[in-house]
Amino acid sequence: MAEMTMIEAIRSALRLEMERDERVIVMGEDVGQLGGVFRATDGLRQFFGPSRVVDTPLAESVIAGSALGLALTGLVPVIEIQFLGFAQNAYHQICQQLARSRYRTRGAQPAQITVRAPFGGNVRTPEFHSDSMESQFAQNTGLKIVMPASAPDAKGLLLQSIRDPDPVLFLEPLRGYRMISGEVPDGDYTVPFGALRTVREGSDVTLVAWSGSVPVAAEAAELLDAKGVSAHVVDLRTLVPLDEAGLVAALERTGRCVVVHEAPATAGFGAEVVALLQEQAFYSLEAPLRRVAAPDSHYPLPGVERDFVPGAGLVVRAALETLEA
């Protein structure tokens, strides 16, 4: 066990897996010599050399697309898209090629590929660097979507991602890289997909979040506590596969629920969570399920980003409204 930040946990997982499995290669823009713009891959090149830690040209589509070819030759690519927003440049490769290779070939050519990318707001980045795209990827089947919110999960879920036989989008909350830290077990361990994490137990209202919104939900729970409201907080960890049974159970604890995320509300993954819960647990609902999300606008320049990214105050307000409903 050691106290680590999230970025350290990610780096340690990469290092461990590259040592354990020599088929693993890491590639992307600036991942080699520089060690990544956030240093997620720092030091890897010294250990594993430039043919396993590859600086690529600036071309997201061929970074993603060539990974499928590499995988067909038996390698296990872990690619970095420097910021998730730029995955739009590789959208057709990720969603139509990586995600469908297994299906198209009836299992003959699966794509064991991990796509790592940071995203999320409140770190004063330029346009596109903070955009949340999880819901769009979730609508494209064939991709597993992994969104850790804690340091130990970052390590255990990344190890699981690299070993998973399907393409995995491993989305890292920028704000958490250095702000989120925790006790991380030494050595090899994995965290399974499709099993949510209970962040905090409570009985009045259930807060559902993932990635960078988990600390927001947890903070809201503290604030609610001070008002005498007991919030149950869960971290979904993976959106695909989704822990449906765990979600229903979490809702049933309280009969009320607020889902929190950073992407715009309309067609965000919050809509899926709400739709699913009302389908599967209708008779447990004490009040309308609520979403607290970014508005249907674009991630703004930093001067107003704190208004765009939903904060704990809004979560508290929605939770209280839910209790009054």
Partner: protein
């Protein structure tokens, strides 16, 4: 004061490399790079491809097959290149007009039948067969091929990746990103451009203002070759040399094979709306199959009898392909739920139970 740009466009296309003329005569001083027996091997695949097209076309018209893309006219570009690939170590990455190349590489023809019948099993690739399935998204296969070539190189294998694409596909961003990366990592990749003059109704002249698509290669750090794509020998020769260079660590080559789509884009297309009949006739004279047969006839290896005999055998082979496909069980709704992931997700399991009205494991409901 005036200065001249160092890089100026050329106004005329270069002369494509050619070994066999339309009468099937070898160019003066040329040697045939394929001996008669290998030439016959290639011809057999070419003739099979054309016969298979004809059969599929008539079945499509009867409503028994879906839309497909014929290869007629492009057989020399396809087989000349494919003959240079070694099925035991090289990969073929097709667009969608490379049927005989895939067959020679070990891809089972009945899978193509199933694919055209719309059967999901048509996408399966048997273990050990080094081909990717047909690609519908234009140019999307090019990055894959770069990854394959690069991956083999990283693992010190001697294979090369041969990737096919059309003149239309060459305008996509993926073309650029792929050539550029292949040049940087010196990947053993043969970029085999079948310039058949058309992208559906879009002529080559609207596809790019450059004189030769092959001329893009040097800026990526590797050679480009322009070849007569209706000349089996020439295509084979330039491809075999490119494969050899790639195996030796010499990196990629871009080969532009000038050929012609002798007919419709697909069974859904009506080329009379855009093709000039005169142009079409001109290309009919350059038929790639006739050219090989004429060449072989000069060597005493081809005759009307042999032609008749082969046509009969090939028809039987086509029958056989359909017959083998027919032995597959018909597709089922449950096919939708298979091979999406390694393991079924809770959502898929729930959807499947409701959709197929299978024994429910609980109170899940959504469709």
């Amino acid at each position: 004061m005036r200065v001249e740009p160092q890089f100026l466009p050329s106004t005329e296309a270069v002369e494509p490399i050619r070994l066999l003329d339309e009468a099937g005569r070898l160019a003066p001083g040329a040697e045939a790079p394929l001996d008669p027996s290998r030439t016959l091997e290639a011809l057999r695949f070419m003739m099979f491809g054309r016969a298979f097209d004809a059969r599929c076309w008539s079945m499509q018209r009867q409503g028994r097959l879906g839309t497909f893309a014929p290869i007629t006219g492009q057989e020399a570009a396809i087989m000349g290149s494919a003959m240079a690939a070694d099925p035991a170590r090289d990969w073929l990455v097709p667009q969608y007009r490379e049927l005989p190349a895939l067959l020679r590489h070990g891809y089972p023809v009945e899978r193509v039948v199933l694919y055209r019948q719309g059967h999901p099993a048509g996408g399966f690739v048997p273990p050990g067969v080094r081909v990717m399935p047909y690609q519908v998204s234009l140019a999307a296969q090019l990055p894959h091929a770069v990854g394959i070539g690069w991956g083999m190189k990283l693992q010190a294998q001697s294979g090369v990746a041969m990737v096919y694409f059309g003149d239309g596909a060459s305008s996509e961003g993926d073309f650029h990103e792929s050539c550029n990366l292949a040049g940087i990592v010196d990947a053993p990749v043969i970029f085999l451009l079948q310039n058949n003059g058309w992208a559906i109704s879009t002529p080559r002249s609207i596809q790019t203002a450059g004189s030769d698509i092959a001329s893009r290669a040097p800026a990526y750090g590797f050679p480009g070759v322009s070849v007569d794509g209706n000349d089996l020998m020439a295509v084979y020769l330039v491809t075999a040399q490119a494969v050899e260079r790639a195996r030796q660590g010499g990196g990629p080559t871009l080969i532009e094979a000038h050929t012609y789509r002798m007919g419709a884009h697909t069974t859904a297309d009506d080329p009379s709306r855009y093709v000039d009949p005169e142009t079409e006739k001109g290309w009919a004279r350059r038929d790639p199959i006739l050219r090989v047969q004429r060449y072989l006839a000069q060597l005493g290896e081809w005759s009307e009898d042999r032609d008749a005999q082969w046509r009969k055998e090939i028809e039987a082979d086509v029958d056989d392909a359909f017959e083998r496909a027919s032995r597959f069980p018909p597709p089922r709704a449950s096919d939708l739920y298979e091979h999406v992931f390694d393991e079924v997700t809770p959502a898929l399991a729930r959807q499947r139970r409701w959709h197929l009205q299978e024994a429910a494991g609980g109170d899940e409901e959504t469709g």
